[in-house]
């Protein structure tokens, strides 16, 4: 619209045309600076990213070359205090339990958060009266800006006491069922995979909701109106015209939420129980995640290969997050082009 308005502007003055031609031949200093600055910041970001990646790899390298990368990923016992005893022995820095903890807590978090986020986003875009719409969206955005240490604090002092009776009941009912039972085995002391997942669910809710809102908002108005015109109820219209074509977008939102959950450090560290010696099968048991072990140990990592091995964990986290985020971005951009 605005472009066509410009085209229809009053007849061109010759001086202006001359100036334009001139500027085309000889770019002004301002243009050059602008171009350099913009492309410079683009290059800088790439450079920073590469520098971080190379740095982490470099720091992790002594441990990788000493123990072999395979021994990190196949072991699930992290016992730095045993490293000095037998330097040529078995790798005491197994990290599989951290990968497990990260994936498990994030997966449970998404399982809980995505359905709520979809409902919330639909309510805001389609159903809520416009009076509520804005404040509600605002509250959700605020939820996203609460610092994670506050979530951790709240998790310890409010969530754990509140969850305790529920978790104990769940454990009592379910623990004797074969196969599923061990997943819910007690006792529930508080800090656990489960509580960490709950805190994560609340933390990823805003980001998943926000993206779902964007996705739902680009559902074509014409299709929605068509559905309604054909006699569809509001639910049928949402199902046909919004949800169906938003499936990929919701998936992408979930993946981005997953990226957030993977990297969350301090809140998880505060409520997961930080058990590093192995994989606990019960979700009410204690565990650790990749970020949590780094946050816990880097200040006093004085054992042989201790700090290097924490860099191996960081490298692993970086790779996993990179894959997840790239996947999410790809999926979302596919949705974008398909709708356009």
């Amino acid at each position: 619209m605005s472009a066509s308005g410009q085209a229809a502007a009053p007849p061109p003055v010759t001086v202006g045309a001359e100036a334009r031609a001139l500027s085309r031949q000889r770019p002004r200093l301002g243009d050059l600076t602008f171009r350099a600055l913009v492309s410079g910041s683009g290059a800088l970001i790439v450079a920073i990213f590469l520098a971080i990646g190379i740095f982490i790899l470099d720091e992790a390298w002594p441990a990788i070359s000493h123990y072999g990368i395979g021994s990190f990923l196949s072991g699930s016992r992290w016992a730095p205090s045993e490293a000095a005893l037998n330097l040529e022995g078995k790798n005491p820095y197994g990290i599989l339990q951290f990968v497990y903890g990260t994936v498990l807590t994030s997966a449970i978090a998404l399982l809980l958060a995505v359905p709520i986020a979809v409902g919330l986003a639909l309510y805001i875009t389609e159903i809520a009266p416009s009076l509520i719409r804005r404040p509600l969206a605002y509250v959700i955005d605020i939820l996203a800006s609460v610092p994670s240490v506050v979530y951790g604090f709240w998790g310890i002092f409010a969530l754990i006491p509140a969850v305790k009776p529920v978790a104990n009941d769940l454990s009592d009912w379910l623990h004797s069922i074969p196969v599923v039972g061990p997943i819910f085995a007690g006792p529930f002391f508080g800090p656990s995979y489960f509580v960490a997942a709950l805190v994560l669910a609340i933390m990823v809710l805003p980001i998943v909701t926000a993206i779902c809102r964007e996705v739902f908002a680009v559902a074509p108005l014409a299709e929605k109106e068509a559905a309604l015109a054909l006699g569809a109820t509001r639910w049928e219209m949402i199902k046909l015209a919004i949800l169906k074509r938003s499936r990929v977008g919701i998936f992408g939102a979930a993946i981005l939420g997953l990226g957030r959950a993977f990297g969350e450090t301090i809140a998880v560290t505060m409520v997961i129980g930080n058990s590093v010696l192995g994989i606990t099968t019960s979700i009410f048991g204690q565990g650790a995640t990749m970020p949590s072990v780094i946050a816990n140990e880097f200040t006093e990592a004085t054992e042989p290969f201790h700090l290097d091995s924490l860099f191996v964990v960081a490298l692993c986290l970086l790779v996993v997050s990179l894959i997840v985020n790239t996947a999410g971005k790809l999926i979302i951009s596919r949705v974008g082009t398909r709708i356009a």
Binding site: S81, I156, F189, G190, P191, S275, E300
Partner: protein, 392 residues
């Protein structure tokens, strides 16, 4: 030690000077027991500084390391700044402090554990002096309904609890030491630190010295003590606050935190058996007493847990300043001598106010003598003698 006088302790608390009775009555725990003297002489030793103040000292010093020492270090630095030298201390953890002094990027480091031979050898600037600065205590805290302060535990019992071999509060081993308490048939939830910590180092050092069960479970002395160990059981909490949160919210929990944290958070704590067989209440007086009788190696690279002395609280630790013996900057060397000689004498009056303990004179004098070893250009920076203590 005589436990017979326990029932009369409330009255005895104000009385004579011998260290015999231990408070066991729950109602008595609010009042200071005889062990926990609040006499100002104990809390503020008023050591005189025998080291002359050196002129031409640099106006700034930088240090880095232990987080454990940070609260008292900031009091020292801000007070000492009035004497013309600013001390900037980065509380980044002992590991970081060791790395920085090794690389000579700070004027002094601070660590909760003495350097190992390999760590000392990795120092770029030659031999490093260990100077103990202050004492701190680690306290066993618990949350059991009906149990006030003063549950008595010996090292072996604590060790078995942390090894997962004692799992109930009414275990015979706990009962045998605590006839005064009705102990519930409740599971023990064990809490420990998840981050590498000097607090863990002091605690596991005590367990290693006193509990064969703990040491065996952890695979021998090489792996049973340290800032991080492979905890066989329990919930890991980050920081004192993390452990305290687990303990305060879990009925049946036991954990360990720094003394000042236990007092500030009003956690119930245990009296722990020391090497003379007495159960000792943790407080400034008993922590200070922990270094009154011990034998220390010449380089002071040691731990101060389970020390002799009838009133010595056994889970005690010190924080070391790490200082290069051969200084490369005369002004800095003088500033170091000025700061630490002040800290080890006048500065020892401050720790008690935040529940750290001043060093008893035995260790305090040995620490002070370390400063005489500091050299610049092959010559000692300062010469001094410590006057003989007046008889009391």
């Amino acid at each position: 030690m005589a436990v017979a006088g326990a029932t009369a302790v409330v009255f005895a608390a104000i009385g004579s000077s011998s260290a015999s009775a231990v408070s066991t009555s729950a109602s008595a725990t609010k009042k200071p027991t005889k062990q926990c003297s609040t006499s100002l002489k104990v809390l503020r030793p008023h050591y005189t500084n025998p080291v002359p103040k050196l002129a031409g000292a640099s106006d700034s010093l930088s240090g880095a390391g232990s987080t454990f020492v940070n609260p008292i270090m900031s009091i020292w630095s801000s007070t000492f700044a009035k004497q013309g030298t600013k001390v900037a201390y980065q509380s980044i953890g002992s590991g970081g402090g060791i790395a920085q002094i090794q690389a000579q990027t700070v004027d002094f480091g601070a660590t909760d554990i003495a350097l190992s031979d390999t760590e000392a050898a990795a120092a770029k600037g030659g031999p490093i002096l260990h100077v103990p600065m202050v004492l701190g205590a680690v306290v066993a805290v618990y949350n059991v309904k009906g149990l006030a302060n003063g549950l008595r535990l010996d090292g072996e019992t604590l060790g078995k609890i942390y090894a997962g071999q004692i799992t109930k509060w009414n275990d015979p081993a706990i009962k045998a030491q605590n006839s005064q308490f009705a102990l519930p048939d409740q599971s023990i939830a064990v809490a420990h630190r998840s981050d590498g910590s000097g607090t863990s180092a002091i605690f596991t050092d005590y367990l290693t010295k006193t509990s064969p069960s703990w040491t065996a479970k952890l695979g021998g002395e090489a792996t049973s003590r340290g800032k991080t160990v492979a905890w066989p059981v329990g919930i890991g909490g980050k920081g004192n606050e993390g452990v305290a949160a687990v303990v305060s919210q879990t009925e049946g929990a036991i954990g360990y935190v720094e003394l000042q944290y236990a007092i500030a958070q009003k956690l119930t704590y245990a009296f722990v058996k020391n090497s003379t067989g007495a159960y000792i209440e943790p407080c400034v007086a008993t922590v200070r007493a922990a270094v009154d009788k011990g034998v220390f190696p010449a380089d002071l690279r040691t731990t101060v847990t389970n020390e002799p002395g009838p009133l010595a609280y056994p889970i005690t630790g010190t924080v070391y300043a790490l200082i290069y013996q051969n200084q490369t900057d005369e002004g800095k060397a003088k500033a170091i001598v000025n700061y630490f000689s002040w800290m080890l004498t006048i500065g020892q009056n401050f720790p008690a106010s935040i529940n750290y303990a001043p060093m008893g004179s035995l260790l305090q004098q040995k620490a002070l003598l370390q400063l005489g070893k500091i050299q610049f250009g092959g010559k000692p920076v300062v010469k001094f003698t410590i006057p003989k203590a007046k008889k009391k």
